[in-house]
Amino acid sequence: MAFVLRRLGFYVAAFFVAATINFILPRLMPGNPIDIMFSQAQGTIPPEARAALIETFGFATGAIHEQYFSYLKSVFTGDLGYSIRFYPQTVGERLGYALPWTLLLAGTATVMAFCIGSLMGVFAAWKRGGAFDAVITPSSLALQAIPPVVIALVALFVFGVMLRWLPTGYAYNPGLDPEFSLRYLGSVFYHAIMPVCSLMIVFVGGYLVTMRNNMIGQLGEDHVIMGLAKGLSERRVKFNYAARNALLPSVTSLGLTLGAILGGSLVTEVVFNYPGLGQTLYIGIVSRDYPLIQGQLLIMTLAILTANLIVDLAYVLLDPRLRRA
């Protein structure tokens, strides 16, 4: 419990740092931050909206520490201001609409990559140097070094344009209304296949290699040799004796790669025209919608910290030493 509480405290501090970076950055830029923000959006925003934006962003007047506190107050009450590009929508509304799609994409890809990668790592390590290991380990390493944008573009071209097997864009058939029906969910599933798989393929290799290397370390340990000497089944030694211990460093690396997967998801969405944070952000970048770009950092930091907390809880479940402490 103390362990989880300590982590929780750390995550609050980390979020604080991200919010502070967001506060400082526009003020480090030369010139008036409000002018920078609106320079690209001249004419598209009515003057009263401009006043509202200035107010919610805490740019107003006053000493820098007063600005900082009013900014922190609006961030912690969930008020991220208005979007310039999607005005009169607020940043919170806009990102709140996009976030579930990104979580669906990144979440499914993470779970699949971690499970498939770790399982293949166990098998590769068990028969080290065998045919499976010799083929799968170098090729997953190679895949891991290819950026998500490249995999997504190639997948889009091959399966979407050339073979016409899978849809090239959107999260579901635009002719359907979002509802809890088999047809709608089927359409969502069908549209998610290509983005999820191309994202997963990039990250599966990392987990495979981590698991394989941990597992090889475990196989030299006394308790595994003891298990084999006792005449336990291969399966039992493999999974209950070696893999369970080898999984701990893998879980740590899972926590560290979450940010990279989320980043990969942003790019994948742009390629597949998927209505998540990445695509919203792309529109925001093109139209220099600074409140939107800043808001996404906070929302994604929050998502990553929450996911890390879940990983910590999993760690407590896997490692009995932490439960006793």
Partner: protein, 306 residues
Amino acid sequence: MLETLKVFLRNRKAAIGLAIVLGYVAVALIGPLFLAADPMARVGRPHMPPDADALMGTTRMGRDVFAQLIYGTRTSLAVGFFAGLLVVAIGTVLGIAAGYFGGLIDEVINFCTNVVLVIPQLPLLLVIAAFLGQTSPFVIAIIIGITSWAWGARVTRAQTMSLRRREYIQASELVGEPAHRMIFVELMPNLLSIIGFNFIGSVTYTIITQATLEFLGLGNPMAVSWGTMLYHAQNSSAIAVGAWWEILAPAAAVAGIGIGLSLLNFGVDEISNPRLRTLGTIAAAAKAQEKLDRARAQGKLQEAAQ
């Protein structure tokens, strides 16, 4: 030195990786010498498929994809190596400082490292790059460098802490060696493999990240690099109109250097961590070691004879 190189090249992964990377470096250095001076020049009709004139076809603007690719190699490698150096420099200094001095310095650095590790990188880079406006590849290298040091710092700190407990370090401390000598003469040589590992990994990461940022529209669209090539291809719907060459060329280039660098890294890891070697490599390494020992013994004999 030559012996070390031999042991290194005996590892197949390291040798192939090194060959790929050196190939890219050669293209970046001498490739543009054989091409027209301006990769942004209009050389043909828009979206011409590959033929004898334009080896990899043309873009929607009628620019030569092959020429852009070669010039882009120069930009992407330069950014990668520059930012890689930056990442390693910051990570190593902070890691050694935290691991060697301990106490409050360690607490502060370690906290910062952990915070930077959990704040998602790409979103943070997007915010910084957005405020800087359409940034040149060089500026992108700097912002990647100052935001990506955390992993290296963490690994270097852990290794420094474990080295610090070794007897030879404690002995030199008792003798009264000054801190700078302890760090540069006693610690550094034992950290070299981690620093090298960190460097190769950082170069890979930077090349990929730069291409991603530029693809998302945060680079200078007039600069020639693999990322801006992808950006222009995406914006001109190259895939939808079937101009696969415009996407495939930069995509293959990024993938190729990524594979080369990570093979190199994996090879180095295998060489420095014997447990990861497969049986064949272990036998080969044992043989190499035998030869090395023999050569050394002979060298000593000769020295003695003189």
